[in-house]
Symmetry: C2
Subunit: 345 residues, 2 copies
């Protein structure tokens, strides 16, 4: 229980008629993947303490599957790779695609260990309610990641049971890749919402891992170089598979038109991989608020010149509005000067 | 946009496998309604700045309806009074009750100005989806409050149109009652999610208003004394009408067995009215997180001796657990020492 006040800066706030309703503190790490040691190019707040990246690290969880040759053995397309890095919203399209992938590998929905989750897509959710269909594990936002775990387990001839155990070869490979790319020891792990282990690292470590994927051509070599480029390119090329209609990751990557990959995580985590600049960004909102993380990440991409502040496609995250149940605009969100004035060292 | 760090203490935090995932700062004001000036009995953080109480102040919005005689003229029962102070979850039971009340007054659903809202009750929501029914204004969590506004407008022979205008007699009466009970000027207003004006005041002012209702027998007189006792008693006696199954307000008041009334509001606001102690409590989470406000309020009621820490009926709010999609307990929440060690001056 942290009793002391945090010293992290305000990143985002929300007002209603000028009265502050939410203030969100947080921290940001930006690493230059082209520097020899993966040096910090900018930092706000405490970027050194261990935290849980949650789903923001999914590209790290998919990396061993590509490096090991499992992805090629299973003839995975870039769409499969994007789904393996996704927190998709469990639309019929996502669930069907995950189910087909499992079937092609000789698995089925019951082999997943992520648990059932109600679809996050309103049309799918309502269709299922009308049809009397219960949510399945395919609708779990992590079903693509878990399909990737099974793909690698099969390739390694490891057990397909309990592939979420931290002692399973699939998870050991994820922990090793995470530590190597982050340039630091794993600080422990927690059980995630989907039952997979989530490995703790510093925000700088997470940003460094993202930066080395962004600057793979200079920072990495061999199968890791190839895997990093394929995964970041697959995410950037297939924004729908990574999240879904109306979702922030999908919207930002569509606006980026293939130039970068971004990935959200629970509890206010978010990363960006910017190959053109060789940069990796990681942020965490102290109170875990997802809309605040979305606003902050959009603001950082604008501050770095990766997106245009006037791009209408990103307005709902950059300058969110409070709209009430009769459609009246009652307030909105704003970035702090710490974000809008962000400069690289 | 508040750029400076807040100085409010940590009230609640959440961890997963020991890693901190959310830290919630906030402020608390507790006022002794039996003291002549409505003095602070305890305070944490900034309790003097103006903020929006949102739905935590619904009892103040219902007070003029009872004081004016409108409630008696309409022969309202304690259940009606509880619904007028509610943020109910739009179950079929709540929506039907609100619809009956409107009909008895010669109004209908279309006279409401709160806007349609999808039911917060899963069984009702799914029944409506299966039946192809669109959400109505009766399902809006504020439909009871708006029915109360119409009840008073009718009694005052004021227009039933645009009763949410700050210039309408119904809203002017709410503003006057709020300022008088809070012992301070209204600091402005915002448009709430239901389109009614929400009047800004300090956290101390909100706690003082709650305290004067709690200590009505010594702090108030005449029709206001009578109205305060009837409304606080109606809320405490009808916890279901105030919120619904599974909801924090309902659960805490059921555990209180009639001894107190509590009311949540959007963006982390919460009040308690404790007649036995003559106390009013108001709290606000800086980042607007509702589960944190629920945990903090439960902790305050325990610290004040109004609830027993070992009462299983309140465990889900006092010591919330993170349970994942396979039912595994992955982490949980805890109160800060600022709350557990709270003492009255």
């Amino acid at each position: 229980m942290p009793e002391a006040e945090t010293r992290n800066p305000v990143l985002v706030a929300r007002q209603r008629a000028g009265f502050v309703e939410r203030v969100h503190h947080g921290r940001v790490a930006i690493v230059d993947g082209r520097s020899p040691e993966g040096a910090l190019a900018a930092a706000l707040g405490d970027v050194g303490s261990a935290f849980l990246p949650r789903s923001s690290c999914k590209i790290l969880q998919a990396l061993p599957m590509v490096e090991s040759g499992a992805a090629d053995a299973a003839k995975l397309s870039p769409r499969h790779l994007a789904l393996s890095c996704a927190s998709h919203q469990g639309s019929d399209a996502h669930a069907t695609f995950a189910g087909e992938w499992l079937r092609e590998m000789g698995f089925s929905e019951t082999d997943l260990m992520c648990g059932a989750q109600e679809s996050g897509d309103a049309a799918t959710r309502e269709r299922m309610i009308r049809a009397g269909e219960a949510p399945s594990q395919l609708h779990n936002n992590c079903s693509g990641k878990h399909s990737g775990f099974l793909c690698q387990a099969k390739h390694l001839r490891a057990s397909a049971e309990n592939y979420v155990s931290p002692d399973h070869p699939v998870q050991k490979a994820v922990a090793a890749a995470t530590a190597e790319l982050a340039g630091e020891e794993i600080a422990g792990h927690a059980i995630d919402g989907c039952s997979a282990p989530n490995f703790a690292l510093s925000l700088t470590g997470l940003a460094r891992a993202a930066a080395r994927i962004a600057a793979a051509e200079t920072a990495l070599a061999g199968v890791r170089l190839d895997a990093a480029i394929r995964l970041r390119s697959a995410m950037a090329a297939h924004p729908f598979e990574v999240a879904g209609e109306g979702r922030c990751c999908t919207g930002l990557m569509r606006a980026g038109e293939g130039r970068f990959a971004v990935k959200t995580g629970a509890e206010g985590a978010f990363i960006a991989i910017l190959p053109e600049m060789g940069l990796g960004v990681a942020l965490k909102i102290d109170d875990g608020n997802t809309p605040a993380a979305e606003c902050a990440m959009t603001g950082i991409l604008v501050a770095l010149g990766a997106l245009d502040a006037g791009d209408e496609r990103i307005a709902c995250w950059l300058t969110p509005r409070e709209v009430n149940r009769r459609g009246l605009v009652c307030g909105g969100g704003a970035l702090s000067q710490a974000i809008t004035g962000l400069r690289l060292s």
